[in-house]
């Protein structure tokens, strides 16, 4: 089952699966999504009445989650969840899900959830989206991955959408097509002539249940050229670029009469980076060239991304403060402890606070 949470997540889920369950705080926004199956309106009320949207607030999304947490945690077991980190609904509800998942002892393989995350393009999207994303990446997402209780997490990026000025619906179609091609690996193994290795539905589900980021991509493979170069030149630009992989899966589709041994070079590449991939080689009579589908599992989102998000959101905050000051807003007097402030500055510069470190070691019973 596919579950779409919030506006962006629902649009992707409905395109991917005509029976997708769509969840939103806003009825108006939910009605704008075409397709999909069951629709759940997450009700959040304040002292002023029912909210008609999340106002980009993670807190409102999180309150909505608290009202339906038991039902949602049951619903996501072994299924796929799509959401964006920018708005309030997807971010807030999934933050609640991930926080609860992190607290669980051990989620069985068959019950792990696959998460499709749509990240805003920090350079051109609103400040709230960037702040929401940073808080999500450094908080609930990191905790959930550290707990090992999620399945694969795919980080879709809106970068290409903004850079190439692609319409939202067209871009969503591109994301879904790319995802479908990756998800068709076990079906292709079942339907086509098998030449080497094998990836059945069970192997594929096991791969999807691993608690790592998944970067999948596709390329026409030329065995005469190094695989690494071809892979790097063909990273999926709908996703964030990957870090060094920890695990990998690949499917080689060979045209009729093509070289069925070309996959050894791919295995040798993965061996050189100490990764043992799951793989299969099939014959695809519709193709003219060798086609390779690769999925790389890597650990944690690159720290540089959070830094990038932080930098942009700080720029926005500075600009806002500057505007406030220029408009002669009366600022409250702050009581500043100079010693604490000096320590903060020293810490931010990375200076060793000798006393503090030795005191910590003593407190921990290590000295």
């Amino acid at each position: 089952m596919t579950i779409g949470i919030g506006g962006a997540g629902s649009k992707i889920a409905a395109k991917l699966d005509k029976n997708a369950v769509l969840i939103n705080v806003s009825e108006v926004e939910m009605n704008k999504v075409q397709g999909g199956g069951r629709r759940i309106l997450a009700r959040v009320t304040s002292e002023h009445g029912q909210f008609k949207g999340s106002m980009k607030s993670r807190q409102i999304g999180n309150d909505a989650y608290l009202a339906m947490s038991r039902e949602l945690l049951e619903m996501i077991r072994g299924n796929s969840v799509f959401f964006s980190t920018g708005g309030g609904t997807g971010n807030g509800i999934v933050s609640g899900i991930m926080t609860d998942l992190s607290k669980m002892d051990n989620v069985p393989i068959a019950e792990k959830t696959f998460f499709g995350v749509i990240l805003p393009y920090a350079k051109l999207e609103t400040n709230e989206f960037v702040i929401n994303t940073t808080e999500f990446l450094t908080g609930p997402l990191t905790e959930a991955i550290d707990s090992g209780n999620t399945g694969n997490i795919v980080l879709f990026s809106n970068k290409r959408k903004f850079e190439e000025e692609i319409g939202e619906d067209d871009y969503n179609t591109m994301l879904v097509q790319s995802l479908r091609e990756f998800l068709s690996i076990p079906e292709k193994n079942e339907k086509n002539k098998l030449l080497d290795g094998h990836i059945d539905q069970e192997d594929f589900s096991l791969f999807l249940s691993k608690s790592y980021f998944n970067h999948f991509t596709f390329l026409d493979y030329d065995p005469a050229k190094p695989f690494e170069e071809q892979l790097q030149a063909n990273y999926n630009d709908l996703l964030l670029p990957p870090e060094s992989p920890i695990e990998a899966m690949f499917l080689v589709e060979v045209p009729k009469g093509g070289d069925a041994t070309a996959f050894y070079k791919i295995i040798n590449y993965f061996d050189s980076i100490k990764v043992s991939p799951v793989y299969s080689v099939i014959e695809n009579t519709d193709l003219q060239k060798i086609r390779v589908t690769v999925a790389l599992l890597y650990s944690r989102k690159p720290m540089e991304l959070v830094d990038d998000f932080n930098r942009i959101s700080e720029d926005h905050v500075h600009a806002k403060v500057q505007k406030s000051v220029e408009q002669y807003v009366r600022l409250n007097t702050l009581k500043v402890n100079l010693e604490d402030e000096a320590k903060k500055v020293a810490r931010s510069r990375g200076d060793v606070d000798e006393d503090n470190i030795l005191e910590t070691l003593r407190r921990l019973g290590k000295l």
Binding site: D146, S299, V352, I357, L358, T360, L361, L367
Partner: protein, 118 residues
């Protein structure tokens, strides 16, 4: 079996500490800050921090740095859930104390710990 007296053991320890490089000092330093703040600090966090501190860009080197410290009994690497968390040992604490007092290296900020503390 060959016997080693306390004086020789002390010399060996000083020699081991003398050979520690900046990357290894930073592991001991960040592991202490993390444990002091009750935050789990794992190999992936270390990789991100060492990369951001421009000490290394490869995971293999990070593993080498951590492995050497574990072999010297200066840190423990514990498999917890699906992460390898880093804990400083009593010997590691002594080594860190020695380096800090010698003022051999300056600490660098850990982006991971900074984000956790916010």
């Amino acid at each position: 079996m060959a016997q080693v007296n306390d004086e020789e053991l002390g010399k060996l320890f000083n020699e081991q500490v003398e050979r520690l490089q900046e990357g290894q000092f930073l592991v001991l330093y960040w592991a202490t800050l993390a444990e002091g703040a009750k935050i789990n600090y794992n190999i992936t966090n270390l990789f991100d921090d060492l990369k951001s501190a421009r000490v290394t860009r490869t995971k293999q080197t990070v593993m080498g740095i951590a492995q050497a410290l574990e072999n010297l009994c200066f840190i423990d690497l514990r498999e917890e859930k699906n992460r390898k968390n880093i804990y400083i040992t009593r010997y590691g604490a002594k080594a860190l104390e020695t380096i800090i007092k010698q003022k051999r290296y300056t600490g660098k900020k850990s982006a991971f710990l900074e984000a956790q503390e916010k």
